[in-house]
Amino acid sequence: MRLMHTSPLWAILIIGMALLTASSSLARQVDVHASVDATTIGTEESVSFTITIDGSDGSNVQIPEPPEAEGLTILQTIPRTQQSVSIVNGEMSRSFGFTWVYRPTAQGTARIGATTLTVENREYHTQPIQIQVIPQDQRPARPRQRDPFAQAFRNQFDQQADTAPAEPDETDLFIRAVPTRSSAWQNEQVVVEYRLFFREGIQLRQSRLTDSWDAEGFWREELEVETRPIPRIMVENGLRYNTIVLKRAAVFPTRAGELSVDPLKIESEAMMPFGSRDPFRSLFSMQTRFTPVQLESPEVTVESRPLPPDAPASFNGAVGAYAMTVNADRTSLEVGESMQLTVTVTGRGNLATMEAPVLDIPAAFDVYDPDVSTLLDRSGDLLTGSKTFRYILIPRTNGVFEIPPVTFSWFDPGVGRYRTSSSAPIPVTVTGTATSPLSVTATTNGLPVDDFAPLFTDASRWKQAEQGPLHRRWWTWTLMFLPLAVMGGALVWRRHQDRLVHDPRWARGRRAHPLSRKHLKQAMELLQSGDTKGYFEEVERAVLGFVGNRLDVAEKGLTRHQLDSLLRERGASESIRTRLQGLLDLCDRGRFAPASFSPENKEEAFDDASSLIPDLDEQLNA
């Protein structure tokens, strides 16, 4: 809504509003900018130079000096003033302006210099503006100010330009596409705003999109724009324009690389402001003054960067700024009852494609696919909203469980790193036992569908776990090779027996010692029984038998001398032969005169024989 100060009613209203908002006006930001109504004019035309003070009602503004100009001459040093009040979205804004009219003095480049303005005791400086002055016959049509002041000045100095209807050119009417950023992370939100710029005084009608707007490689979400937009005045390249937002879209690159957003194209009919005040001319040319125009915004290019590689495990592609909450509607229930687990993610980003966080629900619960609801707020500068995942959990068995923390990760483009939010674990107590509903979902064998069979309450078939493969067990090889040892032993024994049979000399030698021990044992038994004669006979038999076996001779037919000779030939020493002769003499005496022996003498013979036999064995084997 825009009110012009020329109406007394509006002036009263403006004053009232000014009084109501007087307390806040001091804090309001003041913005000063200079503009012209055309940057290219003919040699016969004039140009209006306006200094606009946004945020001021002009009460504390000193009337500035007109800026110096090169190639232009000012027509009136006292500026024309104008004041306006706008209420947009319930917010009131004011502006105050000074306008001077210049006329070119020569063809070429003219210049309106900078000037200084004092508002509320603060100085503001405007920028110089260049103006091209071209021959009048090359002058393109240009819009005219609807402002009565401008009309009035123009009627005085610019009568010639009113004679023909004008058509808008690209400086009068264009669409500008402005992305919030030209480089973004993959899936980061980029808002593209399409704003229509049209010079003051231009009227548009029957505007429509000529082509479907697309953005390949992006996920697209439309943002709200005003259905009945109020033009906002903006200065662009020194020219004042009315602007309205045609379209705002949040786009999310779905892949890395250079991606393009299609231009926005509209068709419309534009009417340049009336240049003539001739009522007949205006009446008859009304239908023809709307000229068809086609407008196209420039293409928007966004460089999409891939996300860093160190994404956490719970990351599922969300990029933006988020917060997560997890709630359970109950934490105590019975088997077969249901509980609802709600996971809500709120924030800025592409909520539409956001996947549900991965839940690690205990297997004792049946988990159904979540009910997903998305609430998007398209009214702000960015797309925001929330996405809610509602899970239904039904416990199949009783017990105390814990729903582990739900973890949600996203990439925060503001800081360029991944963030993770985790909920607290939720303890759940399930009581009761499985009842009839489970039996409904049983198989023909009575086993539950999609769940484990009941547990084993009794274990009767126990076995020792195998301790390793067979070939690595020691007893395997023992059992295999033990029979070989038995076979070897049997073979040795067999050969031994065979030699005993077939080699008498070897056999007598093997038997010598055991026979001697046998005779000595019998001798001792005879001695203990009091048979002295038998005792000495056995002692002599033990010694002579041993010698005969060792020498492989029949000892009974040998004389003492022959025996001594044989022993000497076999290497027996003199001393041992003497000991043998002495023992044999002792045995002879014992057999024939046993009464002459004391018990000690008798045992002495036994001891002599016991020591003599090993000594003989040693020397004869040497």
Partner: protein, 252 residues
């Protein structure tokens, strides 16, 4: 005589100790089962693992362990113990049903590579004559042959029937022992394991820096071709092979 008495008493002591051990095992199993019924799955697992550590095994023990793990959402461990239970009792409906339920939650879907003919023959042999049975019979035949030969050698007693018996025992015994040892070294049913981690990558070499072959998920049963404490060389059902960290697997 004294020696015989001592041996008898020692034997009685040994039997008594074994009996008390068995009693403890059964008591632990019952405690674990009671905890499982009450929904105290961690307590149940502690009791069952205590039984398992004694070296005793049964289909019921492994099934209940698999059930407890399943309730705790340990899919890999659940499938592992159900496979163990199936190994001990492959005909039990509860085990087979529950194993199907657990495997239905496993996300990997691979075609199964058919076994070669010789593998099928070996498996038929092992199924017909189990390895340890074959070894036992083979050893008995071997002992028979050695006994017959020893008698012949020592007692010089022989006949045509004894000679034939010895040869039959020798050939049969050696064949069975060779079969048993060969099946032990080259098992007809290779060692298997279950993937325990959520996601597991097979590598071309035993290194985490090596090129990735494929990714598999928790609960997949793989064949272990070679293993060390750090890395194992495994084959997934479709025949793809690769190296994985050994701690990410649970043996069956």
């Amino acid at each position: 005589m004294t020696r015989l008495v001592v041996i008898f008493l020692l034997a009685l002591l040994q039997v008594g100790q074994a009996h008390s051990q068995d009693t403890a095992v059964i008591r632990e199993f019952d405690e674990g089962t009671a905890a499982l019924v009450d929904g105290r799955f961690h307590d149940a697992l502690r009791a069952f693992e205590s039984v398992e550590s004694t070296g005793w095994a049964s289909d019921a023990l492994f099934y209940n362990m698999g059930l407890a793990h399943y309730r705790l959402d340990h899919l890999g461990q659940a499938i592992r113990y159900l496979e163990k239970a199936k190994w001990l009792n492959e005909d039990d409906e509860r085990v087979l049903h529950s194993l199907n339920v657990a495997q239905s939650r496993q996300t990997d879907r691979f075609s199964t590579l058919p076994d070669p003919v010789w593998k099928n023959i070996q498996q038929w042999l092992v199924d017909t004559v189990p390895v340890r049975v074959a070894f036992l019979i083979g050893i008995l035949c071997w002992f028979g042959f050695v006994g017959g030969w020893t008698v012949k050698t020592l007692a010089h007693h022989d006949s045509e029937w004894l000679r034939r018996g010895r040869w039959i025992a020798l050939v049969l015994g050696l064949a069975l022992i060779v079969h048993a040892l060969a099946s032990s070294v080259w098992p007809a049913y290779p060692d298997r394991a279950v993937v325990l981690s959520d996601q597991l990558t097979l590598h071309e070499q035993a290194s985490s820096d090596a090129a990735e072959v494929i990714q598999v998920h928790e609960g997949l049963v793989v064949e272990v071709r070679a293993a060390s404490p750090d890395w194992s060389f495994v084959e997934i059902p479709n025949g793809t092979r690769g190296w994985v960290p050994t701690p990410t697997l649970g043996d069956i």
